[in-house]
């Protein structure tokens, strides 16, 4: 395994099918309540000015919703936090609309569509919504995007000694892209990581890269979600945090590598 990177999880935000927030997701993942998938409902964003709010698509709302949940649960100051955003596909609806227009004869893209097409759109709107002026990253590693984002955040935290917010999110494409990238629904997760234990810390994570099989979930519906949505590759880690039991979790990373994470619950 590569050099171990250690951080504490202070809070979590989650939004996905039948998983409206972290407490409900934790209950379902720990097996305290049955998991009942329902289409993801992304709430309207009240933290953005009305003009900006009208311009955001569901992917940006998804990313900001989970980020704001994690920050609120920790009582943290979002404006002071460095952030790592990671997504496999970004805003698929927006991409589809642009490609559709460019396939026609007029080729008149709307300016809003164009500036929303950048992969760091969620990061940009996050800054506008929270006033966060610290470093913010925007990563992609296809199906490994969650682990790539978590690894980037852990490295930044260990080197710079600061708390880091990591936000992973993916949403379904419309057709015809849906057929070539069949992501069934939207899922987002945010982890607020700190370099030291805090009174409310949920768990300590120690992570490094290793070749190992990725952990799967017993519940077939949760396993389907894990396998089909890149950001939901986080579910085995979230399950261990929710169950508050020490364990090692292998999360999908690039090619044959896994991010091996030792999870130690905080008392």
């Amino acid at each position: 395994m590569t050099a171990a990177l250690t951080a504490w999880v202070e809070s979590v935000g989650v939004l996905g099918p039948g998983l409206p927030d972290w407490p409900s997701a934790a209950a379902a993942l720990a097996g305290r309540t049955p998991y009942e998938p329902r289409p993801t409902v992304i709430p309207p964003l009240t933290s953005l000015p009305a003009a900006e709010r009208r311009r955001t698509g569901k992917v940006v709302r998804l990313a900001l919703t989970v980020g704001l949940e994690a920050v609120a649960r920790a009582g943290a100051d979002a404006a002071a936090l460095p952030a790592v955003f990671t997504s496999s596909g970004g805003d698929g609806e927006n991409c589809h609309e642009i490609c559709q227009v460019l396939a026609g004869t007029e080729r008149q893209i709307s300016p809003t569509r164009f500036h929303n097409s950048v992969h760091n759109a969620a990061s940009g709107y996050w800054g506008i919504a929270t006033g966060a002026t610290a470093a913010s990253n925007a990563l992609c590693a296809h199906d490994a995007s969650f682990a790539a984002g978590l690894l980037e955040a852990l490295v930044a935290l260990c080197v710079d000694g600061t708390a880091v917010l990591v936000i992973a999110y993916d949403a379904d494409y419309p057709e015809p892209m849906r057929s070539v990238r069949p992501i069934p629904d939207a899922f987002g997760v945010a982890l607020l990581l700190t370099p030291d234990p805090r009174p409310a810390s949920l768990a300590r994570l120690t992570a490094g890269l290793q070749a190992a099989p990725a952990e799967r979930l017993h519940d077939p519906q949760l396993e389907a979600l894990r396998a089909q949505v890149p950001a939901a590759r986080s579910l085995p880690l979230l399950r261990r945090i929710a169950r508050a039991e020490p364990a090692a979790v292998a999360v999908d990373y690039v090619e044959e590598q896994r991010l091996m994470i030792e999870v130690s619950p905080c008392p």
């Binding site: 590569t2 050099a3 990177l5 900006e52 404006a79 496999s88 596909g89 970004g90 991409c95 490609c99 559709q100 460019l102 396939a103 080729r107 008149q108 893209i109 300016p111 569509r113 164009f114 500036h115 097409s117 950048v118 992969h119 760091n120 759109a121 990061s123 940009g124 709107y125 800054g127 506008i128 929270t130 966060a132 002026t133 610290a134 470093a135 913010s136 990253n137 925007a138 990563l139 992609c140 590693a141 296809h142 490994a144 790539a148 690894l151 980037e152 490295v155 930044a156 260990c158 080197v159 057709e175 015809p176 892209m177 057929s179 070539v180 990238r181 890269l209 990373y253 690039v254 590598q257």
Partner: protein
């Protein structure tokens, strides 16, 4: 931060393939921008198209990555012995100990744009053989480069619009400092596509004539394409003569607007100050600055204010985008390589196309190349979403 050595680097753009062509064009003040004849694009503008991209072929075992962006990546990797330098290092330290961090804004989206024209008239389905993972997905270029170089370590794409391939230097530096890897291939690859050409046009940010950064009459940017790569390693013992170091990085967010910079350059100034602090340099230690300098009225005005506030008005600087065009997600890495060339050869490249430097901009803008012994230089990259990154490079002397 702990400095890193640039042990190999290369760049391919409309100025030509590799370092010699790039350096000759820059020192002679030539632009690579030409009237746009790309694909079926009908726009009255100039673009910087890299020569030979369409003639490049991916090897049979990498056909799943076939797209213009990865052809450009392969063309770039093959220049200046870069691919061999990486393979040689991998043999010494192990293929798992070299990470790959690359910037791109649009990856292989051109393939998707073309596929949308060939959708099934009945079902609307994309044509057979459409490659989502290998061409469309933003990660495609890092997956391709990792495979093409035979590397097996960490890999990610950073896609923060026009700061993408500057930020890869910061991510790789942290990963090496944390011990995750011993070395990193960083760089940027972005290729011409309809999304950016028509998109920047919709924002009325594209110039008709070749872009004129910092000119009083500047009226927008010109889009280019490039592949630029750098091999970063911990410096070992004595640096070779003319060796170049990555000395400082700074990253910030504007928290202001999606497609317009903060008017006072607040985030830009923060990134520059951080880079100086990381490099343990003062504002008087920067000998040359390679501006982001897109040629849009708002970028150049905000950047000039930020530079003047952090470094003062007298540091010689230029934007090389008049020569290369704005290569978007590749711009950070391309301009990092241009800074490395400036340090190695002691020549500050003059900004081409600019006739009358805007007197309202408080900077010392170079319109002709100038020979000078350079110790430390700065490169700025700013992107949509208010993403800013400044890098400082220095000679090892």
């Amino acid at each position: 931060m702990k400095p890193l050595a640039l042990t190999a680097f290369t760049a391919t753009s409309c100025l030509g393939r590799g370092l010699d062509a790039t350096r000759a064009a820059l020192e002679e003040g030539r632009t690579g921008l030409a009237r746009c004849t790309f694909e079926t694009v009908i726009l009255d503008t100039h673009v910087g198209e890299a020569p030979g991209v369409d003639a490049e072929c991916l090897p049979a075992e990498l056909q799943e990555f076939e797209c213009r962006n990865n052809r450009l990546a392969r063309l770039g990797l093959g220049q200046d012995g870069f691919d061999e330098a990486v393979r040689s290092l991998a043999r010494r330290v192990g293929s798992q100990r070299i990470g790959v961090w690359l910037g791109t804004s649009t990856s292989g989206i051109l393939e998707t744009e073309l596929a949308y024209r060939r959708r099934d008239p009945g079902s609307g389905a994309l044509p057979d053989g459409f490659r989502y993972r290998g061409a469309h997905n933003t990660f495609s270029v890092a997956a391709f480069v990792q495979r093409a170089l035979g590397l097996e370590g960490p890999a990610a794409v950073i896609s923060s619009a026009c700061s993408s391939s500057a930020k890869v230097f910061a991510s790789a530096q942290r990963a090496i400092e944390a011990g995750l890897v011993d070395a990193a291939v960083v760089g940027g690859v972005d290729s011409l596509c309809l999304t950016t050409l028509y998109g920047f046009h919709s924002l009325q940010l594209v110039a008709r004539t070749p872009c004129r950064p910092f000119d009083a009459g500047r009226d927008g940017l010109s889009i280019g394409e490039a592949a630029a790569f750098v091999l970063l390693e911990r410096p070992s013992g004595q640096l070779p003569k003319n060796g170049v170091l990555l000395l400082g990085t700074g990253e910030s967010s504007d928290a202001w607007h999606m497609s317009a910079p903060h008017p006072e350059g607040r985030g830009a100034a923060a990134a520059m100050s951080q880079a100086l602090e990381a490099a343990r340099l003062g504002s008087g230690d920067i000998d040359y600055i390679n501006f982001h300098g897109t040629g849009t009225p708002s970028n150049d005005a905000a950047e000039a204010r930020a530079v003047s506030a952090v470094l003062g008005p007298r540091v010689p600087g230029s934007s090389t985008k008049g020569a290369t065009g704005h290569t978007l997600g590749a711009a950070g890495a391309l301009e990092a390589v241009i800074c490395a060339l400036a340090l190695r050869h002691g020549v500050m490249p003059g900004g081409v196309n600019t006739q009358t430097v805007d007197p309202a901009l408080p900077v010392s803008y170079l319109t002709a190349s100038r020979r000078a012994p350079l110790k430390a230089v700065m490169s700025n990259s700013f992107g949509f979403g208010g993403s800013n990154c400044s890098l400082i490079f220095a000679t090892g002397r």
